[in-house]
Symmetry: C2
Subunit: 375 residues, 2 copies
Amino acid sequence: MTAQPDQNPAQADRIIISVDAMGGDNGPAAVVAGIAKSADKNPEIGFILHGPEAELRELVAKRTILNDRVLYRNTTDVVTMKDKPRDVMRNGKGTSMWSALESMSNGEAAGVVSCGNTGALMALSVIRLRKLPGVNRPAIAILFPSRNPQGFTLMLDAGADIRADERDLLQYALMGASYARNGLELSHPRVGLLNVGTEEHKGRSELKDAHGLIAGFAEQANFEFVGFVEGSDIPGKVADVIVTDGFTGNVAIKTGEGTARLIASLLREAFKYSFLSRLASVLAITSMGRLKKRIDPRRVNGGVFLGLNGTVIKSHGSADATGVSAAVKLAFQLAKTGFSEKLAARVASTVELAQDAPEPPDDTAEQQEEEKGQA
Amino acid sequence: MTAQPDQNPAQADRIIISVDAMGGDNGPAAVVAGIAKSADKNPEIGFILHGPEAELRELVAKRTILNDRVLYRNTTDVVTMKDKPRDVMRNGKGTSMWSALESMSNGEAAGVVSCGNTGALMALSVIRLRKLPGVNRPAIAILFPSRNPQGFTLMLDAGADIRADERDLLQYALMGASYARNGLELSHPRVGLLNVGTEEHKGRSELKDAHGLIAGFAEQANFEFVGFVEGSDIPGKVADVIVTDGFTGNVAIKTGEGTARLIASLLREAFKYSFLSRLASVLAITSMGRLKKRIDPRRVNGGVFLGLNGTVIKSHGSADATGVSAAVKLAFQLAKTGFSEKLAARVASTVELAQDAPEPPDDTAEQQEEEKGQA
């Protein structure tokens, strides 16, 4: 999809990304700096910016690279980080977030980027874009630094929904594998199901059921199912895609991020300790720079909402220009590969089969007994 | 409790720790090396070793520090990491693990240490030691490196049970706070409840109910309730004790551990990159050593089983001498402070009140709707 020619002829051959300029911790200045960065690197991108037009025009005017590449949708309301999704769903029509989604649902843009409130963005996305047929719970997919050759593991759901049953987990596996093929260029991704152990008798009953369902679709959906994986495999190398419910996924990535921050701060302390260690730290600057770049969350900024009619990228609330630019790049890539359409086709081709699959058996007393104390 | 005088007079004034010599990845040699280390540091500890007696006697004979400080219980069976807890419960009577627990339940020892299969150890512990009155699900508490002044956050349940309802989470809060007072010398520990956000409207319904229950007991049980915390707070500094179900807890700590290992390996790579970085790494050795010591899991090796009549320490399966020694030290400390008895009293004093607490309301449709998409 490209911009409607009557709005801005210069945009006609560009892929248009709809950007919510408000709601991030660093305000619209960081967002405009980010899109300027993207515009500089990639002549194929154009933008629709949503927020207070006068303020945005002023910020854009300072970046000559953005000349003729930005359309505006003036909005006055902003979704804050404190707003409850339920309230935003009721009263959010005047917000920049709503407007940003509107530009995709009406065909003006091929992708949406927002740094705002995750819960509100997901809630509004479901209203404005609708779920793909066959998808019960959309998911947020994130990239976590790992030992995989590509440097990352794709993890979903990172927190769109606090629950997931075995059918949802199957959908996550299908969507995650499809994203890995289109977004990460992995032709035959390895998919793992997060559990407290790799033995097949372990874990909650819905995980055992999901294990069977996902295994049954692996060949048809062109991925390798590696079975149960553990938390340590998220930064590991046994799976390209790891599937879990949004509660567990959210806690896991936040624990991993917190651990990385703890180590970074302890490293700084360690290097301050003595003259020799301060000298070492000077010599180590480039090494540390390489390491930092390798695990810099800004490089892979952006959770992708999967399971909707269209591509929505949730950028970190604290994203700076680099982070916003990475999110825009991701939205562009996915739009260019036609990911959204491919995913819809993939889910549609399997949903019928999934619905025909035998119902998972009810928990028996024996299963429940077995589950206790085995984690 | 001390050893029965008729068995070994030299042990009479020592605190006896019952040690399962088998089932760890490094075999009985690592276990014997570990208890020798503990014996060397602490003249007040004595041991009962469980396993093939002839083999153990040979290993012990090489360590003069262990002269007269070890009793033996000959066993021939071993619980392996592959064994299912259910099978061990049925057929485990001849194992070193069973025997190690037996020595505590019959009063010979004041604490148990095992490097073996966690699920089996918990299952046998529940059979041999019984749960404390008022405790529904025992929990495993672990120490995770953090920014707290004491250097660690106590987290439970780390994987004893894959489920926990609001009453269980209350018990975890009480047990965790009691352990923090006795094991970590924190007189008024800060307790947090793990969730996907800190706002009170977020998360699963049992978490909202647990929030109310725990808040209601904080004053009486002498801890500060800091409310909901997130995964990033496990390595953080807002809470001394973090409470969650064993599924989430297990995934969280494994993700954190995996992240730490990833960073360590990337650091090694970064320092190999060029001549300058190799030079820096030589100068940084002591700094790195300090950092490594700070977050070395072996220093705080040992998950503590809480909610049983007696102290059981689960050491890492891969524990070496340092790890085993740390687990023995923890068992000794907890025995010496009379932790087990204090915990029993604490739980007993609150269980009646908890039972009198009003039943949490059923989920309403509105609550369920609110929970969706808010993570």
